[in-house]
């Protein structure tokens, strides 16, 4: 192999790498510019980084891994409902069979709205093979009268009595709608929170907040009364 070929190959590789970095940077800049335009057009508030948000919730994806961070915190109101959405991430380390350490970053987009009264924690996750395996080993799951709902969602609730109170037939119907699927939902304290893996763009935020408000409106009024 001639030295000129090796040099050419090296230049192409370095050029490709630099090109990739520049492309990534420009893509991020464009995403950020689009986000800022969207925020300004809707009159939302913006905080670049607020790590206190990492302590807002106890339920997963919070409280896992290390170096948690919360960035791009956007807040505002939709249909008079206040909301906040932010990019949350944490990292984990794993060691392979040869003893090599590797670090993984786990990004999530978290969106939440406040509730009038605090509720015991209830988590709803779309069913998957791993959760089914967990249940077969004795994991506790809240089952409702709807077999379709039970097949679609795995529900864990701190207080099952309250869990059954929240899961009215209309609430179950809501959780069987297509637009509700594909996300996880958490009722925790005075908040209703939803999250998805990855950082999504903000264009879906107004419809997502409307969806959360619709879910919150189906909580029976007696649970939202002053204790």
């Amino acid at each position: 192999m001639s030295p000129f070929f090796e040099l050419g190959l090296f230049v192409v590789l370095v050029g490709g790498f630099v090109g990739f970095i520049v492309w990534q940077y420009k893509k991020n800049q464009a995403r950020k510019a689009a986000m800022m335009t969207f925020i300004a057009s809707h009159g939302y508030g913006y905080i670049p980084r607020a790590d206190d948000r990492t302590r807002y919730f106890r339920s997963p994806p919070f409280g896992q891994g290390y170096s948690p961070s919360a960035e791009h915190v956007v807040s505002g109101t939709v249909r008079g409902v206040p909301f906040e959405t932010f990019a949350y991430q944490f990292t984990t380390r794993t060691r392979d069979s040869k003893g090599h350490m590797s670090t993984q970053t786990h990004p999530f987009q978290v969106t939440w709205i406040p509730l009038a009264q605090a509720l015991p924690t209830m988590r709803l996750r779309t069913d998957n093979a791993f959760l089914r395996w967990g249940k077969s080993l004795g994991g506790r799951d809240l089952d409702t009268e709807s077999e379709e709902f039970n097949n679609q969602w795995k529900v864990w609730c701190e207080d099952e009595r309250i869990g059954h109170a929240i899961l009215t037939p209309r609430m179950i119907e809501m959780f069987l709608k297509q637009e509700v699927m594909g996300r996880s939902y958490v009722f925790e304290g005075k908040a209703l929170m939803t999250y998805v893996p990855g950082h999504t763009d903000l264009t879906e935020t107004p419809s997502l907040v409307s969806l959360l408000a619709d879910i919150a409106s189906l909580i029976p009024p007696f649970l939202m009364e002053e204790p």
Partner: protein, 185 residues
């Protein structure tokens, strides 16, 4: 030979431990079902307590609807009688719900009654109480479903039969939202 004896003893011990665990789980579930039923009873009592006030309030405006008042009072007395099984209680609550539906239909004909603060408040309390009953019913039925499934599932049914665990009745009432007329103020 010793291996067979120790193997046999080990097997018996494992089976005994499993049976104890299943027995304890069934006892825990039975207690949960009973507690859930008591909670429904409390909410039903709250519902029954609201009805005399509601009837009195309607009476103040619609004195001639004697038959409706009597029907509600009779249904309420039957529903409030102690010692009913969940199925009997459900049937009586359904009668009461139907009678209340007629009472609210009467109220529809009296605009002044519909605007009465006390009536509106009583109706709101009744709705809240019925939501509580519905929530209690879902919790109770979920626990009944769990214990009935365990009792009928092999091999737990062996332990259940040995210790006299029996199926529990579901509490199936008509949802008020489906039967009561929509009263708008």
């Amino acid at each position: 030979m010793e291996l067979v004896i120790f193997g046999g003893i080990g097997f018996v011990v494992i089976v005994a431990l499993w049976a104890i665990a299943q027995y304890n789980a069934l006892v825990r579930l039975r207690n949960l079902v009973q507690e859930a039923w008591r909670q429904i009873d409390v909410e039903l009592q709250r519902r029954h307590d609201l009805i005399p006030n509601l009837v009195e309030t309607v009476k103040g405006y619609a004195k001639h609807e004697k038959a409706t008042f009597e029907e509600v009072t009779k249904a309420r007395t039957m529903a409030a009688a102690p010692g009913s099984s969940p199925a009997e209680q459900a049937m009586q609550e359904n009668f009461l719900t139907q009678a209340l539906g007629k009472l609210f239909a009467v109220a529809e004909a009296y605009p002044e009654l519909k605007a009465n603060q006390n009536f509106m408040q009583l109706q709101q309390e009744l709705t809240n109480t019925e939501d509580r009953v519905a929530a209690g019913r879902r919790f109770y039925n979920a626990n009944v479903r769990t214990i009935n499934t365990k009792i009928e599932t092999f091999p737990i049914n062996i332990v259940a039969n040995m210790f006299g665990f029996t199926r529990h009745e579901y509490f199936e009432t008509d949802d008020v939202a489906r039967t009561a007329p929509n009263v708008s103020f």
